[in-house]
Structures are given as C-alpha cells and as structure tokens.
C-alpha cells in the first residue's frame, strides 16, 4: 500500500454508475482513497486532458472508493465520459475533514447535489459512532435527485432520518434545503450542522445555524491547480481551501469575507457570484 499521498497512482475504472443523465459515479480500487476522511479530496488526472479536485465518494467494497462527477467544464465532462476499464491518475487525499466530536448525539447534514459526496462518508462514520443524524438532500427537481438509495442504505441500520426536498416540489418536500432546515431546527436540538453544496446554499445554511447558535461546518469548493498550498488559486481571503480546508467552521467562515461572495478565476481575478 502506498503511504505517500503525493505519489500519483494510476487506477482502472472498475464500475460506472449513472446517477442522472449528467451525473455519474466512477468506482476504482485505491487504499488511500478508501481511507479518506470526510471532506478530503483527490486530484484526479484525466490523462492529456485535465486534473481536477474531487471529493471522495464511499463504496461498499473494502479497498475501493469512487468519485461522483457532474459534467460541466472540460475536465468534468472528460471524466464523466470515462468508461469501465479506462485509466485515471490520483493523488491525495488532501485537506482537512469534518470533525465529529465525541459529545455529539444529534447532527444535521445538509447537502445540495453532488455536495452530498463528502457528507455520505460523514454519515457513514456518524452511523458507526451511533450518532443520530438527519440528512437533507436538496435538488432543483426530481430528475436531479440521486444518491437516495445509497444514503438510505448507509442510514438504514442507525437512528437516522433521510429527507429529500426539491425546489419545484416534483419529489419529496417542496422547498429549499434552507427552508427545510429552518423547520427542523425549530423542532429539534442539533449539536452540529454539516453542509456541502452550492456556495450560496451553504451561506444560507451557515447563516441559519449561526442565528440559532448551532455549531456548523461547511466543505468549500474552489478552482485549484496544485491542491497542496503552492498555487494560491483556491484562496478565500487568507485561507486556502486545499490546505486550510476544505472544511471550515462557522467561526472561521464568519471572518472570511469572500465566503458566498466571490471566487478566483483561472487567472486569479476575483469574480462575484451572480
């Protein structure tokens, strides 16, 4: 087994799972990825095309891991198009992790779209520690709801509630994750909220948690070149998502002015979220 996370491993894609027409999960064997902590990411090399940071998806087989891609840019589309048997490169896992404190008894997990990837790994660890968990998966519409089966499987044996909401009400509860969270926090006492998804959604989740004095942790995403704290592409104010994150707590986020406001483009210019 490799122990140097920087060392590039070339792995064969052993299975592909179509989640929606634009979202796919690729399964591969890699010990370091199998033991990745929730919130950590891999730098995935699609030979001669791109290298992109991806959260590590869990897989039920020992020694296996996966990545779940939504096709959008050149890199993610190329990775989406990989087939069973194709080779990809990996380095990492890099970054910090979601922290499950021993004192936690009841936690809330809020994921938007592929943002659920690190949260499912977290839910798996939470269920092993017998922490009560409520998972909220948000999507715009029924067609974009995925991971429901795997989320139910992870949580079936533990004291866990799984809720799906869609913006248009075509599946599950009608409403956004933030509106669902809003009613949940009125009726429950949560020790911590964990979130990952579109940044503006996370901004809402973090704001609501903070208003209700609930500790919150969010896993952020940024464009990266190196993944290891050299290039500076992923900076939010003075924090680097790759080295200081990907997970930041509510206290840290309250001081990061860029959170939910702006990100850096490939050339390093600040761009505001629309």
């Amino acid at each position: 087994m490799h122990t140097n996370i920087d060392k590039r491993r070339i792995v064969r894609i052993e299975e592909t799972i179509s989640e929606t027409p634009t979202v796919k999960t690729l399964v591969f064997k890699d010990d370091l990825s199998y033991t990745a902590k929730p919130g950590q990411f891999l730098m995935i090399w699609i030979p001669r095309i791109e290298e992109i940071p991806m959260s590590v998806m869990i897989n039920s087989k020992d020694g296996y891991a996966a990545v779940t891609i939504r096709k959008s840019g050149i890199g993610s589309t190329a990775l989406f198009d990989r087939k069973k048997g194709d080779l990809i490169g990996l380095r990492g896992p890099y970054g910090n992790k979601f922290v499950l404190k021993k004192s936690y008894q009841n936690t809330l997990i809020i994921g938007g779209g592929t943002g659920l990837v690190p949260l499912l790994r977290l839910a798996y660890y939470a269920s092993k520690k017998k922490i009560k968990t409520t998972i909220v998966l948000g999507a715009r519409t029924k067609r974009e709801v995925f991971f429901e089966k795997i989320a139910r499987k992870i949580t079936e044996k533990s004291d866990c509630t799984f809720l799906v909401c869609t913006d248009d009400g075509s599946y599950g509860i009608k409403g956004t994750t933030v509106s669902v969270m809003s009613s949940l926090v009125r009726e429950n006492i949560f020790d911590c909220v964990f979130t990952c998804g579109p940044e503006l959604m996370m901004k809402g989740v973090v704001g609501l948690a903070t208003e209700n004095s609930i500790p919150v942790q969010a896993s952020l995403e940024r464009y990266m070149k190196c993944g290891i704290g050299i290039c500076g592409s992923c900076c939010l104010d003075s924090s680097l998502v790759c080295q200081d994150g990907t997970v930041f707590n509510g206290r840290q986020l309250s001081k990061i002015l860029d959170f939910g406001i702006s990100y850096r483009d490939k050339d390093g210019q600040k761009i505001n979220y629309a």
């Binding site: 140097n4 920087d6 060392k7 590039r8 070339i10 730098m43 090399w45 030979p47 001669r48 095309i49 791109e50 290298e51 992109i52 050149i74 890199g75 080779l87 490169g89 380095r91 070149k225 190196c226 993944g227 290891i228 704290g229 050299i230 290039c231 500076g232 592409s233 900076c235 104010d237 003075s238 680097l240 080295q243 850096r264 483009d265 490939k266 050339d267 390093g268 210019q269 600040k270």
Partner: protein, 285 residues
Amino acid sequence: MLASGILGISQSIFERLYHENIGGIVTKSISVNPMKGYPNPTVIPLGGGSYLNAVGLSNPGVNAFSKELSQNKTIPIIISLVGSSEKEFSKMVKIFDKLNILGYEINLSCPHVSKMGMEVGDDPEAVNKIVKSVRMSTTKPISVKVGVGSIDVVELARVALDAGANIITAINTLRAMSIDVETMMPILSNRIGGLSGNAIKPIGIRCVYEISKKLEAPVIGCGGVSSWKDVIEYMIAGASAVQIGSVLGSTGPRIFNQITKELKNYVEKKGLRNISEIIGIAHKY
C-alpha cells in the same frame, strides 16, 4: 522572502505571510493582460521535496493586480514582471510605481512559456532593452531573475546589471519533464515545465557563488530552500537574501516563522553579531 509564483495573487494572503515574519514577498509574475495559464496538470509533486510545474504564468494582469494591491501600506511587496517587449514592461511599471511597493523583479527565466521568460533571457539584446526600459520608468530597486538557459548565467547577470538592474535573483526553475509509465503519457499538459525544490539546490548554490564572486551587485538566492541550513548555505555562497517557494507544498506558510527562529539560534550559536557576516564566506575557497 517568498519566491515568485507561490501564493502570489492575494493581498489577504500577503498579510497572512507578513504575520509569519516574512522579510519580503515577490508576487506571481504579472503581465500586461490577464493570463489563464495552461490546463491542469500544472503542478506535480515529484517526491523527495522536488516539484515540476508548468502553470503558464497565469495571472490577473496589471490592472486587476494593481487594484488588488491598492490598499497595501506596510507589506514589503516586490512585483514580479513578465512580458515580451520593453513597451509592456514600462507600461506596467508606470501603473505599479504609484503603489506602496518595494521594487521589481524581472522574470527573464520562466522556462515554459514561449516569447516570455527564458526565451527573452536567452537574448542579451532583449535583456538589455527590457531592463533599460524598466530603469527609465522607476527609481525603485530592480532585481533580475536569471535561470540556467543557453547563455552563461554570469554573463546574463552582467548584461542585466550593466543595463541598470540593482540586484540579481538566482535561480528560476530548470526545464524538465515527467512521463507516466502506465499511460505512457507526459503528465504536464504543457509536457515540459520547470523543476523546483530540493533537486535544484546545488545548481542554485553554484550560480549564486559564481555570480556573487564575479560581480559586485547583491544576489538573492533561490532554488530548493526548505530549511534554515539551506538559507545559510546560500548566504555562505554569496546570497544577501534568500527566497523560499516549493517547500510550502509540504509545510504551509508557517515555514517562514520557523526558519526565522532557527536562523536566530544559528547566529547565536556561531557568535555572530549579524547574520550578514557570513555572506560570501565561501569565496575564500
């Protein structure tokens, strides 16, 4: 000092580094227009503290970057400049000269972008013109960053100093390549990049030694510095200051504070009044 190309695009990051006891910060190389750089992979950790990169000089360009630095008051920032012609350099200097900055480092040695960096540095006439044009546009100190290209590093440094540069920074990364044996493909999208980190330190030491022995100007050492011992070695070779870059990939910004403390211990242990006493001691041998 922070070497150019590392973490160098954000004023907030510069402030964080400043609190780590950094002596100076060289920004990423800035060009007239924004550059997106090459697609990934652009940075490859090779193991053993060495790295290969072909970022492709990605930077926000002179206008966005001068806005980024507009509120700077106390941080000792040196702007790295890159371009193809003397006009581009003088245009940038006219804009940057209004900011609170220490000076400039002219990048004549990036080994992986055409018509910029080393392709300019390998042409003594172009070096002469560019350095002269920057000299005409500013009274601030100018360092020229040289690398190992097709002309002798001491000759290149001499041309730069004769044209009005005050300082030489040596060295930049070295042209290098890495190929994956499973896929049989070059890893960098640009195929060829620049080698940095531990592997190039002895070459950097040699260049600093030769330049500082033969020429009068102060030399800033750069290349493979990861500990206080490397800083001392560069200074003994003739460096008046030392830049640190690639090692941040394994340590993060705290390396500056750590090395500063360890250098103080060394100065005490050796009974020196000032660390500058060791600069160029190796020239005796």
